[in-house]
Symmetry: C2
Subunit: 231 residues, 2 copies
DNA sequence: TTGAAAAGGTGACAAATATCATATATATTT
DNA sequence: AAATATATATGATATTTGTCACCTTTTCAA
């Protein structure tokens, strides 16, 4: 086993709460963790499932979503390299309220909950770090609530593209690095797929977006921003 | 100063994270806290304000809301006896993302952040308890997101009444103990005040709700529940 | 490599919801 | 108690968004 497969040496952890663990604790985590490769479209865990640990994203992006009674999926969060999924359920000792599906090919580590819970009760720095990140997630969730209930679908789609650009960046030709299907975008925004397609088409016609194959790119960020703000 | 004004003796704390504090820590909190009486409609803190501590609700209910760019308020959470407001901002060291306004006359304790942050870094049990409650809030926020984006206004209003009943109860005559204005209900649900009024009128005509003065009561809980579920 | 399946696209229409205007009831202040 | 402000109510109408039907393009597996 190469040394890069040890949590102690993993750069990913610099981006999440694991960085607050001691060498000792990390060693324990590393000894109990398992690595997983997940193909695009595959499920990592399902809503209602009891999680016996957390998942640390090493590569790729996962959508965390919840199925509503009418059969539609609402994407609540996208989890990226460095983020940990499933802590909420492990901490609250509840089944997961969300399901996680890979948006593209992923690599992740599974860390059994014992290693986490142990440290949570012993290392206040670690617990505080987890708390800090959860406080951040909660703020973002509040923002999503306000956006969904107060902005139009057009505004929210405009925002979604700005979010994709600022969080995942664009390639040399100006196309967004993270490509989501129209359906996924609709599920992030909370609208019907057809409405989403229609608005994206409109944005293309108006010169706000460009496309090439499956890729989409932002052409006029300022106008998109104005639109998102309601002008 | 009566002994009931000491945090060590306060029953309220049994309902929140403060119960995980040691006698010693509670003493420190108690010595630094101040009590406040807030009249219905008064603000406790504003969006964007830097909070120098947290507020523990001893009596009454507060609405935590966020102003959107179109001038409407979205109520994200109602905080009740035993709940602590403002921890998110104190923990993340950010200005508040929400403002808090008293829904009825309130009594609360202000605890300066030093007392909290100190304990957060020293007492893992306390930190874990705060974390557990925040995990719970986050789950609720996820549920709100799904509800707002997937359910109709009618369904959400039905849900709001069921929530008010199960969380605040009803009096001997079957009227909800917590009375919210139609505007507040609209802001919880994320709709226009007029739409909210219209639907409440409809519910009354259909025999699902009754009213007397400002008070509203649930007449047919089962039908209300079916409606909320989409039948 | 060729079909089937999935994703993207568009029109027509229906349904849900917001907005504006205005009226009435209720609460609050003087 | 009158005057004023605020909350509730309702109609008419506009706007937004969803739904259904159908078509084209792309993707992927046999």
């Amino acid at each position: 086993m190469g040394s890069e497969s040890r949590c102690e040496n993993c750069i990913i952890r610099q981006f999440n709460s694991l960085r607050a663990m001691s060498k000792e604790e990390l060693k324990q985590v590393s000894d109990s963790k398992t690595s997983k490769v997940i193909k695009k479209g595959e499920a990592i865990f399902e809503e209602g499932e009891k999680l016996n640990g957390v998942f640390c994203v090493r590569e790729g992006v996962s959508k965390l979503s919840k199925l509503s009674s009418n059969g539609k999926d609402q994407i609540v969060k996208l989890a990226t390299k460095g983020e940990v999924m499933g802590q909420r359920s492990v901490i609250a000792e509840e089944t997961s309220n969300l399901s996680a599906v890979a948006v593209n090919d992923m690599e992740l580590c599974f860390i059994p909950k014992e290693a986490i819970v142990n440290t949570l009760h012993k290392n206040p720095d670690f617990t505080f770090e987890v708390l800090r990140l959860m406080a951040h997630d909660l703020r973002e969730a509040d923002d999503v609530i306000v956006n969904i209930s107060q902005k139009t679908v057009k505004q929210r789609i405009a925002e979604a593209f700005l979010y994709l650009k600022s969080n995942y960046g664009e390639d040399e030709q100006g196309f967004l690095i993270l490509t989501l299907s129209r359906e996924d975008i609709a599920n992030v925004v909370g609208t019907a797929t057809e409405s989403c397609i229609r608005i994206i088409s409109e944005f293309k016609k108006k010169g706000l977006l460009k496309s090439s194959g499956k890729k989409l790119g932002i052409l006029d960020e300022k106008k998109l921003r104005d639109l998102a703000e309601g002008f």
